[in-house]
Amino acid sequence: MSTPPETTRLPDPVATGTGQHGSESRATTQDRASGDAALLRVTGLRKTYRLGRVDVPVLHGVDIEFGRGEWIAILGASGSGKSTLLHLIGGLDRPDKPGNGKPRATIRFNARDVASFSHAELDRYRCRDVGFVFQFYHLLPELTVTDNVLLGAMIRHGRFGYMAKRADLRKAAADLLGAFGLKSRLRHKPSQLSGGERQRVAIARALINDPTLLLADEPTGNLDRKTGAAILDVLAEIRRERGQTMLMVTHDPEIAARADRIVELVDGRVVEASG
């Protein structure tokens, strides 16, 4: 997939301070495919749900590794555990505890193990290192487009920090939304936007804290083909402009084809599909 020449430049969100876990540091493990330092390395990831007294194993030991700046698509049938995997990587859920001969799962992110993070560390990780984009946008209906985008920044900086950076952050949000063609919609409520516009707001929200990793769970799943393609264009642009590492989940091979690399989730394990 070739990169088209110069298009609109995406603005950089406000400098994010020093708190980020070593965004400059290099991971130690080497990526098999590219030889680049791996940003994320998942080994032996298992997740079992309990339905009453029955154990429902969903992930049976997922091993996956990808490098900084990669766009990976995870392809899998509905119910194969794609969302589960994304939630675990994003620190929204925890993998199974080791035991019964099963080894401990690790989710190495920049050489730190997300799987052994404390609650506070997980909150911080989700806030600064990860940006989520959901299939159903999940915008807060009471907030304006701008406030929705700023939500992550408010959570990150706290009351006084946010007040201090308020003007800069508002400008950053406006620039992001402007780059996504939503300049005239800043004060609108989500209910006044179309599906494609809502998803673009959600992507802007995920990017406000300049995360290392963007996690998108079927970002086009709720949109028609044409609108979905436009969203993929937006993602491609982000990828090109910012070198953003992106993990995108989809059940549609055609959509997965837009990514650099496709891995398939089959029977709770990852199968490399293409390079």
Binding site: C127, H138, G152
Partner: protein, 534 residues
């Protein structure tokens, strides 16, 4: 920061939280109005009970005790005491117009000292008035008549001295001051005042004469009392015919209906408690069953004359006003008075000792009423509890529903990095916001209603009268607190700041409390489950 933003947005874009705030407004206002008005009424009642007692009463009922002048002197020498007044309390009968005789409490007082120790002067009804009473919008009060000013001024002075000038002899003689409801010749008006009744007398020639039943303007009543001997046994009843100098209104119906004030000296004479010179056989005990009847006894050369000092049944004491906080509380003042009495008793062998004399505060004397006030406080507490529980449940139910509705939002916030505490605080803060809006709104509503309660009351009564007149031809009485009914002359219309503060804090805490469990539920929500929630 997101807390403030979301609280504001949730609060202004949803109907439910507005309803919750409104409910808290109504609860808060209701409690505050009830407490202020009810507390005000009861406060009026207790103050009325105090008006003719003073602060402390030193009493030895029935027989009374002598040398009270010395006791009063000792009391008044004390810097804690503002004044002291002698008093006799006894039961007797009074024959009113149309030979209606009734049992009454007769109190013998010295006008001057009594007015110094109690608020007697204020309770005297017939006196010139410059401004009408609050509800007397038509200025119907006869006391406002400029032409009667001199008469009323004279009546007021007569009332203060419990005497009046006899029309025939021109001498000042003792007179009665009746509770305003005793005589039955005054009509209580709609505005809570009194109007003398008039009587139409038809002459034999067909003419008709209007006669005023205004007693203080002339006429005498018969008073009957039973003196006791020094051992407390009743002697022959005594009667006296006395004019009426004035009437008093203490504000307590029972007192105003059943109390007659009389000049102390006159009552002492009737009760044989005045100073008498007695002849006793030397060596005899001073008291004998025939005490007071020595005039009838045969004079004997070996008898000598001794003076039996005048007696009273009580001394009323008023505490010195003091604006510094070091002032004694009422109970301490009572014990202080008891100590002064003890010194007095030590100097006089013929008075009851300090251990047996009755020394009580006006609060002790009005125990029944004070107890009622205390019960009222308890009642308010119960109402508080119930209304608070209602508010707690209201907020709880609304928050529970809102958190179910906002599950996705909670999931999103967690995905964006909000902590559990952050989410809990969001809802607690939200509860607090509803509490602040609700209780401040309720406080303002209560203030607006209570400060205008008399006008609102009049408005309700007027609309009732109008509606009744139009619908049935007879005006309806929609007075909730009819000034014709005794205590309700004026509705208390002030809110004490500490009551307002208490109610506001209660309202706030209720909301916070109601939000507590839903907030905990929101905090414990698993972010993935919240996001997957349909």
């Amino acid at each position: 920061m997101y807390h403030a933003l979301l609280t504001r947005r949730y609060l202004t874009s949803k109907v439910m939280p507005l309803l919750a705030s409104l409910a808290v407004v109504l609860c808060t206002a209701m409690v505050l109005i009830t407490w202020s008005v009810m507390g005000g009424f009861l406060m009026n009642l207790t103050q009325a009970g105090r008006s003719l007692i003073g602060d402390v009463r030193i009493a030895w009922p029935s027989v009374g005790f002598p040398h009270y002048d010395d006791l009063i002197e000792r009391l008044e020498a004390d810097p804690e005491v503002a004044g002291a007044a002698p008093l006799i309390e006894t039961f007797g009968m009074i024959t009113l117009l149309e030979n209606k005789t009734e049992g009454v409490l007769i109190r013998g007082v010295e006008g001057e000292s009594f007015a110094r120790v109690t608020t007697y002067a204020d309770t005297l009804w017939w006196k010139p008035l410059a401004e009408p009473m609050k509800k007397d919008t038509e200025r119907e009060d006869v006391r406002l008549e400029p032409t009667d000013h001199d008469l009323l001024e004279r009546l007021y002075k007569d009332g203060l001295s419990l005497s009046e000038i006899d029309r025939e002899t021109g001498q000042r003689e003792s007179a009665l001051v009746l509770g305003i409801e005793v005589g039955g010749w005054n009509m209580r008006t709609d505005w809570g005042g009194y109007y003398p009744r008039v009587q139409f007398i038809n002459g034999s020639d067909g003419s008709s004469e209007v006669q005023n039943l205004f007693m203080p303007a002339g006429g005498e009543l018969t008073v009957l009392v039973v003196p006791l001997d020094s051992r407390g046994r009743p002697m022959e009843a005594r009667t006296a015919k006395l004019p009426v100098a004035n009437e008093f209104e203490s504000g307590l119906y029972d007192i105003d209906r059943k109390t007659v004030l009389m000049d102390l000296k006159a009552l002492q004479r009737m009760l044989r408690m005045h100073e008498v010179k007695r002849a006793v056989r030397s060596g005899d005990e001073v008291s004998s069953p025939l005490d007071g009847f020595f005039e009838d006894a045969e004079p004997a050369p070996e008898r000598e004359v001794v003076v039996a000092p005048a007696r009273v049944t009580a001394v009323l004491v008023r505490q010195a006003d003091s604006d510094d906080s070091s002032a004694m509380d009422l109970d301490a003042f009572r014990e202080h008075c008891r100590a002064i009495y003890a010194e007095f008793a030590a100097a006089h062998p013929d008075v009851p000792d300090a251990g047996s004399i009755g020394v009580e505060t006006w609060e002790d004397a009005n125990r029944m009423m004070i107890e009622a006030v205390k019960k009222e406080t308890g009642l308010v507490l119960i109402i508080f509890t119930f209304i608070s529980i209602t508010a707690v449940f209201l907020v709880f139910a609304i928050f529970w529903a809102m958190i179910s509705e906002k599950t996705k939002d909670i999931g999103v916030l967690r995905a964006l990095g909000a902590s559990r505490m952050g989410v809990a605080w969001l809802w607690l803060r939200y509860g607090l916001a509803i509490g602040v809006v609700g209780s401040v709104g309720g406080g303002l509503l209560a203030w607006a209603i209570v400060t205008n309660i008399n006008e609102i009351h009049e408005g309700i009564a007027a609309s009732g009268a109008w509606l009744g007149q139009t619908l049935t031809g007879v005006p309806w009485n929609w007075y909730i607190w009819d000034p014709k009914v005794y205590v309700f002359k004026e509705i208390p219309h002030s809110i004490e700041p500490w009551k307002a503060a208490t109610v506001l804090i209660f309202g706030l805490l209720s909301c916070l409390f109601g939000a507590l469990v839903p907030a905990a539920r929101a905090a414990r929500m698993h972010p993935v489950k919240a996001l997957r929630f349909e």
